[in-house]
């Protein structure tokens, strides 16, 4: 009877251990990669590994593999809204120091806009 109520059926022990080993290896990998100079790709690698690890936890430990569609929609929504919050506020900060005049205008009158170059604003 216990099994019959369990909607998410019990996963095999072997799978959990496999996921656990992978997660530990990935932790070692992400720490190791930090000691190699990849330029901007260091950040990309670190985030990619983190996303991979998080996906493993969500899919296997949290049983998202077997959960209903609704739960998957909730997960996707949460991630999507987090990206809206970060991404859309970044549109402001990443374009603030661009002056809203064409390049030729700026290059012809450098003295006017000089103070804006290189500053975050």
């Amino acid at each position: 009877m216990a099994e019959s109520i369990a909607i998410a059926h019990a996963e095999k022990k072997r799978i959990y251990v496999l996921v656990w080993v992978t997660l530990l290896c990935m932790t070692a990998l992400t720490t190791g990669v930090a000691y190699i100079d990849l330029g901007p790709w260091n950040t990309v690698a670190a985030l990619a590994i983190a996303i991979f690890k998080a996906s493993l936890v969500v899919l296997f430990f949290m049983h998202a593999r077997h959960s209903e569609h609704l739960v998957r929609i909730v997960i996707v929504c949460a991630i999507f809204w987090l990206l809206i919050l970060i991404g859309v506020s970044m549109t402001d900060f990443s374009t603030r120091n661009r002056v809203s005049h064409p390049t030729w205008f700026r290059t012809n009158q450098p003295s006017v806009f000089h103070h804006l170059e290189g500053s975050p604003y």
Binding site: N42, W81, F93
Partner: protein, 231 residues
């Protein structure tokens, strides 16, 4: 994959008349409905948690973009070894938590207690490292924003980084403390036989919460400790 899940749900609904013998709260028809509601409720709660951390993560991202070199300096003052160790500790606790849920699904009462205790121990180890090996060390170095004596390059912006470090890890540690409290409650409830006969919604939901807190740390580790590499 989903058809498999559907099949289990079908199986449960045929068993629901039997499940009805277990008393469910009056607003539910049967245990299946209760389980589905509890599970969905937990996931929705975790979605709000994502956005709760999201406000901090967005601020962090923006300041990291504006003051990248200061954030790198700040990051290099943190101890990667302890950070990686704590990541491993939390991953272990996630494994034991998953095993506890599995034990509950299979109605193995002793295993539930065993794995919950292990999860609690890992959680406490994490908190010990966080409090005494990391925060206290950084405080003594004069890096904590309440007692900030660092006067090197980009000092004000390094202080911003340390602020984010303390608030993000602090909020995470708060979640861990709540999680440990939940573990203790669940252990007591299990010992009193509250989860016999396949009623394990609280354990399953606590598991979801615990794994979520683990995921937060999985992101915090590279975001805080590994800015700009260590080479």
């Amino acid at each position: 994959m989903s058809s498999e899940a559907d099949a289990t749900i079908l199986k449960t609904s045929t068993a629901s008349s039997k499940a009805h013998a277990l008393t469910v709260p009056e607003q539910f028809d049967d245990a299946t409905q209760q389980h589905a509601a509890a599970s969905l409720g937990m996931w929705v709660f975790l979605a709000t948690e994502v956005l709760f951390f999201g406000g901090l993560l967005a601020s962090y991202t923006i300041y990291r973009y504006l003051y990248y070199s200061a954030f790198m300096i700040g990051s290099h003052h943190l101890d990667v070894v302890w950070g990686a160790t704590n990541t491993a500790v939390l991953i272990c606790s996630s494994l034991t938590m998953a095993m506890a849920v599995r034990a509950a699904q299979l109605d193995k009462q002793k295993h539930i207690v065993f794995f919950l205790v292990l999860t609690l121990i890992f959680g406490l180890i994490f908190l010990y490292i966080k409090f005494f090996e990391e925060w206290w060390g950084e405080y003594k170095e004069g890096l904590a924003p309440i007692h900030f004596t660092y006067a090197g390059l980009h000092a004000p912006h390094v202080e911003l980084f340390m602020f984010f470090y303390y608030v993000l890890t602090g909020l995470h540690a708060l979640h861990m403390i709540v999680g440990c409290g939940i573990m203790i409650t669940l252990i007591i409830m299990t010992l009193r036989g509250k989860f016999k006969g396949g009623r394990f919604n609280p354990i399953e939901n606590a598991g979801l919460y615990w794994h979520f807190v683990d995921i937060v740390w999985i992101f915090l580790f590279p975001l805080l400790y590994l800015i700009g590499g260590r080479y």
